[in-house]
Amino acid sequence: MNRNGLPFLLPMLALSLAGFLVPLALLGVFSLVDTAGSPTLDNYRRLFADPFILSVLVDTLGLGAKVVALTTVIALPIVLLYWHAGPKMRRVIVFLTLLPMLTSNVVRTFAWIVILGRLGPVSQAMVELGFFPAPRSLLFNETALVVVLAQIELPLLVLPVIAVMTRSDGSLAAAAATLGAGPWRVLSTILLPMMAPGILAGWVLVFAGATTSYVTQSVIGGARLIYLPQFVYREVGVLFNWPSAAAAAFVLLAATSIVMLAMTAASRHPRLAGHA
């Protein structure tokens, strides 16, 4: 029997090489030359020497980390609820996770403008409770942005963990409970190690999503908060400073890749690789 699958792969391989790898390599080259075309490290040197750009970089990575942390805290009770739920309830939870995930990011960002806006429910409740003297907008600050991005990225953490849970059976946790382990002990010694591969996979997606969400960052963060996507777009679209944009994009790529590689390495670790 002919086991040769290459002809079927060729179109996709060609697309990945010519359409993806080559452009990325070109971007790398672009970040290493000056406007006249001679090789230089100046683009990166400028990137790290300019306190403004440096703060943009640090803020972007910090934003990613904060969103990952908040998303994890919120996702944990959801996946535990899924774990303890019956088959019917489990389907409801998957439905309620898919609904926001499949809803457009711009739509969800818009809904948050309504929720956090001056005439929105949060502002009105604060006035009613006497915390605010007059209705005011809660938008345009980093805290709001972290909360909104956590909501937007939440399904990307919940779903991988749910996928891991569906594949594993509950006998180990049940055995531990029978042997006298309390629910918190079962959670820390059995459920968390079991969920770890899903959590790590989700973290990568959440980090990549939160650091690159141009629309949400612009709309919820407002004009005064600048993150790498806005910076890259401004360098290209407004200032036509290609080398600088390429260098900034490459730093974003490198930061995401480092996070990803660290996560992948961690998921190979025997204790985290789902042996529980």
């Binding site: 452009p23 971007l27 739509v107 818009f110 690159t212 390429a246």
Partner: protein, 271 residues
């Protein structure tokens, strides 16, 4: 499973059921708010709205007022459909071909084909813009479609590979024994079996393409206006309430798709 034979741990119950319920509400509430907002009778984004009406939907439908929005919707739909077609043509055969490679070879090519899924698409948008400029292409409708196929093709691949990797090889062997070549075997035997994966992939790719900003931002020319960017502009410029009506339509479409697939996947009762 929670109780066992031991006294209830109330803190744990509160954590799982109390906070779990709140967390799910946090996750879903914005979708509900977006949907409810679209029926407001007011001029502002006051929530809860003072009255209900369909006025923003009719403003959205009115071709005189909302012509540019209609154009953007049309472009976005065209891009999404072409991206789905391209993704099927490229990724479905690849998901089949990879099962016919030696394990070492498939382990080498898979990360390459899946890479666009995990790398920030914004970086790719800039890279594609630079590369296309090098070969003399300027931003255009076609370039957006190409970029979307590169970035979302892997979604189709993953969705199909989930099926091809579980396929029973004896079906193909039987087909080969009966004298069918690999291409006819693929068309007549494997492809029908892959259909659920292809359909799921089509849905995912369509939704992602429809919602994409970061690739389109770099690769679209001024005439190729797309829906998410149009909505972004409307939000930035004037907090136009028609955005709420567009949101209502998009949320309604997602709800419809989810309910249909919920019904289709309902476990059959043993009778």
């Amino acid at each position: 499973m929670l109780d066992g034979n031991r006294p209830l741990d109330w803190a744990y119950r509160l954590f799982v059921y109390g906070l779990g319920g709140l967390a799910i509400a946090f996750m879903v509430a914005p979708v509900a708010v977006g949907l409810a907002m679209s029926f407001t009778a007011g001029q502002t984004l006051k929530f809860p709205p003072d009255g209900l009406s369909l006025r923003w939907y009719s403003a959205l439908l009115d071709p005189e007022q909302s012509g540019p929005i209609h154009t953007a919707i049309l472009h976005s739909a065209q891009i999404a459909v072409l991206t789905v077609l391209g993704a099927v043509l490229v990724a479905a055969p690849a998901a089949y071909g990879v099962t016919r490679l030696k394990p070492a070879a498939s382990a080498a090519v898979e990360p390459l084909m899946l890479a666009p899924l995990v790398l920030p698409s914004l970086v790719y948008g800039l890279a594609a813009l630079i590369a296309s400029g090098r070969v003399g292409l300027s931003p255009s409708f076609g370039l957006v479609v190409f970029g979307h196929i590169v970035v979302f093709g892997p979604l189709m691949y993953r969705s199909c590979a989930a099926i091809t990797q579980r396929l029973d090889p004896s079906l193909e062997e039987a087909s080969a024994l009966l004298g069918m070549g690999p291409f006819r075997t693929f068309l007549r035997v494997t492809l029908p079996l892959m259909l659920p994966g292809i359909l799921a992939g089509m849905f995912l790719v369509f939704m992602q393409s429809l919602d994409n900003v970061s690739v389109t931002l770099f690769l679209a020319d001024a005439r190729t206006t797309v829906l998410p960017l149009r909505m972004f502009q409307m939000i930035e410029e004037s907090l136009d309430v028609r955005v709420a009506a567009i949101s209502g339509v998009l949320i309604g479409a997602v709800l419809l798709c989810l309910i249909v697939s919920w019904k289709a996947l309902e476990p059959k009762r043993q009778g």
